[in-house]
């Protein structure tokens, strides 16, 4: 839409509002990084200044080389990548079934998946703990992958379904006429076309798994297998005065999410809309 008559006061107001949103969104992250690069001796004198008089990378060095954070980072990476990969494969199958078939019980399955998105997942934290404990799987990263995969499948399925819906059915029908089985048609014709969708789903699930705290806190107590959120929280409650190091660790936790976010950013509107409309 082109607005023909532009009011200068309105235009100014618009740019002020844009700037306000930008500051509100970025200021907390700026502060996180700012404290992380402030030298320890200046924290109490210049902690609330907008920029410290000198900066240092010492906090990052300490966190990376002298604490367990790199191990936590590795654990989280393993869990998040594992969850993202398994979820995306299973959700692609389920989303394909929803997109291409009509079958008895479809409505019930969709309804059940929607309901799992609504009820408090914390409800099952006690039973999950007891089941995992009785299997001897406490402190195992695999158990986290299995649990996170189940939590993320419904949303990922609806997301994948919307990507499959956008691809004409004629394509695989033509391939099947040429003698492909349906699975071959899916693998050779349809999946290559849904690569962006697969990428977006991977990104969403990775971000969700990377952020998860409460179930990880319940199921993991061993220092060796802590994920990043659990490790950071334990660190904060133990060394609550070491501001610079905590924020350096926090800044590091931002990196993978931001990378994935840049990658999935252009699918956000599409992805969340399909999730929200159907969810």
């Amino acid at each position: 839409m082109s607005v023909t008559r532009t009011n200068p006061a309105l235009t100014l107001g618009k740019y002020v509002a844009l700037l306000a949103y930008l500051l509100f969104a970025l200021f907390p992250l700026y502060w996180l990084v700012k404290i992380a690069i402030t030298p320890d001796r200046l924290i109490f004198t210049e902690g609330t200044d907008l920029w410290p008089s000198t900066t240092t990378l010492d906090n990052f060095r300490t966190v990376i080389f002298q604490t367990d954070f790199m191990a936590f980072f590795g654990n989280s990476l393993y869990v998040s990548l594992g969850t993202a990969a398994v979820t995306t494969i299973l959700a692609a199958g389920a989303g394909y079934a929803f997109s291409r078939f009509d079958f008895g019980g479809k409505k019930i399955i969709v309804a059940v998946m929607l309901i799992t998105q609504m009820f408090p997942l914390l409800m099952i934290i006690a039973p999950i703990y007891k089941i995992v404990a009785s299997l001897g799987m406490l402190n195992s990263l695999t158990s986290l992958i299995v649990v996170y995969t189940a939590f993320n499948i419904p949303f990922a399925t609806f997301l994948m379904q919307s990507f499959f819906d956008a691809i004409p059915k004629d394509l695989e029908e033509a391939a099947m006429m040429d003698g492909c089985t349906r699975f071959q048609a899916l693998r050779k014709v349809i999946l290559p076309l849904t690569l962006p969708g697969l990428g977006a789903t991977l990104g969403f699930v990775f971000t969700a798994a990377w952020s998860e705290l409460l179930f990880a806190l319940m199921l993991i107590s061993d220092n060796e297998s802590m994920t990043f959120p659990v490790g950071l929280l334990t660190f904060v409650s133990r060394f609550s005065v070491d501001w610079g190091q905590m924020m350096a660790a926090g800044s590091l936790a931002l990196i993978p999410s931001c990378l994935f976010f840049i990658f999935i950013q252009r699918y956000l509107v599409q992805g969340l809309t399909s999730g929200a409309v159907k969810g």
Binding site: V3, Y15, A17, L18, Y21, A25, L26, P28, L29, W31, L32, I35, I43, L90, A94, Y96, A97, F98, R100, F101, F103, I109, F119, P120, L121, L122, M123, I124, I125, A126, P127, I128, Y129, I131, V146, V147, T149, A150, I153, R182, T207, S211, L213, M218, P229, L232, L233, M246, G250, A253, L254, S257, C258, F261, Q265, L268, V269, L272, T273, V277
Partner: protein, 287 residues
């Protein structure tokens, strides 16, 4: 037809075993005494947990806090998200970069959002108490999360920061689906921008607003991470909401029976809310 189930079955099996079966077990826990720290007290107790819950002062405090937490979070997220969506629906220089940057909070892991905001509210290293004191909101720069009257606002502000992009994204998608001819017709008819907004934009957005607000309300009422990290429910339970109460009861006291009872209560409240909203929608659509 067997074929669709070949593609579906792994997902169904996983959801069944990891979510649905534990859900049933969880409901059964609410009728048992299961304290990991007190294994001799295990057994079926009927409605005893529910009787305890009814007379538990902390439950009622948490219920009230859940209401205010959800109400203020959703209201501000919605209003700011709508504003952002309207801005993003216009043309301006550097829009792509702007959009990527304002949506960034949504990608920040929740535990990190919580820690970052907790630090911003800390007078030693954070600027917010000093700003609020300078503006006269506080008498002196202190940490509002130590003040039972104000503590809940700490997590609420963090939640608004984290949730505005979600509302903006969904509303922006809805805005983009409004046919442009409507605006052209309105302009020809000489409608003011305010008239265009209330007569075209809002009615078109209404269904999306209704469903997004309902889903977000349920989601935020369940959302425990921010409060758990920022205040742990304190001081003096002033920030305890039902979902953090479930988690602390299970995690710190290892009292699984009572934790499940609170969870069932929360589930029932949310169900009643959802049914009420759907009933309201049906009624409004008829008129």
């Amino acid at each position: 037809m067997v074929e669709p189930f070949l593609y579906l079955s792994p997902a169904i099996v996983l959801i069944g075993t990891i979510i649905l079966i534990p859900l049933i077990i969880g409901i059964s826990y609410s009728f048992q005494s299961i304290e990991i720290l007190n294994p001799f007290a295990t057994g079926w107790v009927g409605f005893e947990n529910y009787v305890d819950l009814w007379s538990d002062r902390r439950f009622w405090i948490a219920l009230e806090n859940t209401f205010w937490w959800t109400f203020w979070s959703v209201s501000f997220q919605f209003l700011l998200g709508l504003g952002l969506a309207l801005l993003l629906n216009t043309q301006f220089f550097g829009k792509k970069l702007f959009q990527a940057l304002v949506f960034l909070p949504w990608a920040v892991p929740t535990f990190l959002s919580a820690l970052t905001w907790a630090w911003l509210f800390n007078p030693t290293i954070g600027p917010l108490p000093h700003w609020m004191a300078a503006l006269g909101i506080l008498d002196e720069p202190y940490n509002i999360m130590g003040d039972p009257d104000l503590a809940l606002w700490g997590p609420i502000v963090a939640n608004i920061w984290f949730g505005v992009p979600f509302f903006a994204i969904t509303l922006l998608a809805a805005l983009q689906s409004i046919p442009g001819e409507l605006y052209e017709a309105a302009e020809i008819d000489g409608a003011s921008p305010w008239q265009t907004f209330t007569k075209i934009t809002l009615p078109f957005l209404a269904p999306m607003i209704a469903i997004t607000v309902m889903l977000r309300t349920i989601w935020i009422a369940n959302f425990a991470d921010l409060i758990f990290v920022m205040t742990g429910g304190g001081p003096a339970n002033s920030t305890q909401i039902l979902s953090t109460y479930i988690f602390t009861t299970a995690f710190r006291r290892l009292d699984f029976g009572f934790a499940s009872t609170i969870a069932v209560a929360l589930l029932i409240i949310l169900l009643v809310y959802a049914i009420f909203v759907l009933w309201l929608r049906k009624k409004l659509v008829k008129v």
